[in-house]
């Protein structure tokens, strides 16, 4: 009698799942099939998954198993399932940025990062929900419905990559592609107790990413741990002739991080006590393991959110002008061209997106541009310099990801200012173009996840991930699963 099929434990990382497969304890097809079950049940209950690709994924997994038999693996991720955020184009399925404007849009071609992963044998299993056009911090603006936090389904998972993080936070074996413009990888990772990485701007190709704030956007992995994120980065990073802003020379330095500074502004009175404590405790643990901990003040951070709001919305107002009801996307028919534009855009965009387009249009408009957009760019330069300067004295900066714990669904969505407050600690990394790694570092009294972030100098992606990997050898926060998760 054959023994029942064994699977890696639910919280197993990609690396651990790969070990299972290479040990022959289960096949990629078994793994992917089981994972698809999870997506179709819990994934959909959470609202995290919009589309799954069962036929294509199982076929791909079979091919992977064949390659493994013949020792002809395409890469280290061969056979591993992954999802892509709804704002990343894929040849299969649709890419709608969770917006009514683009529902049904078939890109017909993979984004560069997806193409590279598929060429490495990874198996695309589904597309995840996100805030509409990646504009949000709670994944409450998706046209596919609200996404729930697996740790407490009455609470938000964070956004805009809420679907990806919710999946990563509740189940291992896979990795998820998200995008980060002002914290959209790191915030949901922190809220869902997953690990999320935003690379140096330009390190990963943006081709195939539906643009929000072009000078701020980056695609990055959300997974169970930093090792998984590093594996994904290996595959997706590097120059892309189809993205003029992708870096041609990557810094691969892996010099260990020896000196980390806590950013004082991340521990001020506006931050929840439990969060401050958890991150300080994390710093102490690092110190016990030989990392020198200091503190630094970055006063420019007070203007960071304002700066981000102006620049991100300005770029977004332009990036979203192409959705005009004429050559792509959906429309509301009208006999007059201007009415066609206005009605199509009103119907296609949710209220938060429309607010941001309005603000972005305003800050670029005649008479206001100098006072807002130009000034924000000057402030951005100062912020960048301040961060660069601080990172000359230390190897990395440490601060919380969010000022507060995951809050109830519906609590902040009608109060945009309260919503934008979620971003205050994350936008700096995007403004300065520096890499940032979000790591689970504990839970508050209510059992809700707390995340911390490490920021490094531009190009220090490998060094950050390395420290993250070490940290996750000294601790086990990242191994937890929500209470009541089936095994």
């Amino acid at each position: 009698m054959s023994s029942p099929q064994q699977y890696p434990p639910r919280e197993a990382t990609v690396q651990e799942a790969l070990q299972w497969i290479s040990d022959g304890r289960c096949s990629s097809h078994d793994l992917v099939s089981r994972y698809l079950d999870f997506l179709e049940t819990e994934g959909k209950e959470l609202g995290a998954v919009v589309e799954t690709f069962e036929t294509e994924a199982l076929a791909a997994a079979k091919l992977s198993d064949k390659r493994r038999e013949q020792s002809e693996l395409l890469g280290p991720l061969d056979g591993i399932p992954f999802t892509a955020k709804m704002n990343i184009t894929t040849a299969v399925g649709t890419t709608d940025a969770s917006s009514s404007m683009l529902v049904g849009f078939k890109a017909g071609e993979d984004a560069t990062v997806v193409r590279r992963l598929l060429a490495g044998g990874a198996v695309l299993v589904g597309k995840t929900s996100c805030d509409e056009f990646a504009m949000g911090a709670t994944n409450e603006t998706s046209c596919h419905g609200v996404v729930a936090n697996p740790w407490d389904r009455s609470r938000v998972p964070g956004g805009s990559s809420g679907g990806a993080a919710a999946l990563a936070g509740s189940h291992g074996w896979a990795f998820h592609l998200g995008s980060d413009t002002g914290g959209s990888i790191r915030l949901p990772a922190a809220f869902c107790s997953a690990t999320g990485f935003k690379p140096t701007w330009g390190r990963v190709s943006r081709r195939g990413l539906i643009a929000f704030g072009s000078s701020l956007d980056q695609i990055g992995p959300i997974a169970r741990d930093a090792s998984d994120c590093a594996l994904v980065l290996d595959c997706i990073e590097g120059a892309d002739p189809l993205d003029s802003t992708s870096l041609h020379q990557l810094d691969e330095s892996r010099d260990p991080i020896e000196k980390v500074a806590l950013v004082s502004e991340g521990f001020g009175p506006g931050i929840d006590d439990s969060i401050r404590e958890a991150v300080r405790a994390a710093a102490e643990q690092m110190e016990q393991h030989g990392v020198e901990i200091t503190e630094v003040s970055l006063p420019q951070l007070h203007a960071a959110n304002a700066c981000y709001q102006v620049i991100a919305t300005a770029e977004a107002s332009s990036n979203l002008a192409r959705y005009d009801g004429i050559h792509v996307g959906n429309r509301v028919a009208a006999d007059d061209l201007q009415l066609l534009y206005e009605k199509s855009r009103r119907a296609g965009f949710g209220v938060e997106v429309r607010r941001r387009i309005l603000l972005g249009t305003f800050v670029l408009s005649a008479g206001y541009r100098d006072a807002y957009y130009s000034r924000a760019q000057a402030v951005r330069d100062l912020i960048r310099e301040g961060v660069d300067h601080a990172l000359e004295q230390v190897d990395a900066l440490l601060l919380p990801v969010s000022p507060f714990a995951p809050f109830p669904i519906g609590e902040r969505i009608d109060d945009p200012i309260a919503l934008y407050a979620c971003d205050i600690l994350t936008v700096t990394a995007n403004l300065a173009g520096v890499p940032a790694l979000a790591l689970p570092c504990g839970f508050d009294e209510a059992g809700l996840p707390i995340g911390m972030q490490l920021m490094g100098a531009r190009g220090s992606d490998r060094r950050l991930l390395q420290l993250g990997q070490q940290w996750q050898q000294w601790t086990a926060h990242h191994r937890d699963l929500p209470v009541g998760s089936p095994s």
Binding site: E109, L216, A306, L337, L358, S374, R375
Partner: protein, 127 residues
């Protein structure tokens, strides 16, 4: 510690960046409607007031920008600083099927809301 802004003696002088401080602009229905027209967003009357209110609060939040001391002569490049210089593309049409290559009209057209006779269809364009 960031030393503050006094040490930027080497900043390039720019003709076109002159920090203007017109005072916080007055946000009213007129401004919101004008901006919405510019952005081709239809507004219904009921939402104008809420938008005025929202814009005011955002501009309040964004006031912190004005409190930042911009050193004299700081030229803002106005673009994301990047270590890259534009890489140019060879003047060739891409091979069919190559990523980033041309597509046949139908594959582009089928994602358009109104595509007939191989063209995108709109109401009559004036002017």
């Amino acid at each position: 510690m960031h030393p503050g802004c006094g040490e930027r003696g080497s900043a390039i002088v720019s003709d076109d960046f002159v920090p203007i401080d017109p005072g916080r602009p007055v946000v009213d229905a007129e401004l919101v409607k004008k901006t919405a027209r510019l952005a081709r967003l239809e507004l219904i009357d009921e939402e104008v007031e809420a938008l005025v209110h929202h814009m005011e609060r955002i501009l309040d939040m964004v006031e912190t920008l004005r409190s930042v001391q911009i050193p004299d002569g700081l030229e803002t490049q106005g673009e994301a600083r990047t270590e890259t210089v534009s890489r140019l593309r060879n003047d060739e049409s891409a091979v069919d099927g190559q990523p980033g290559g041309p597509r046949d009209a139908e594959s582009i057209g089928k994602n358009a809301p109104d595509w007939r006779d191989g063209t995108f269809v709109t109401p009559r364009v004036l002017g």
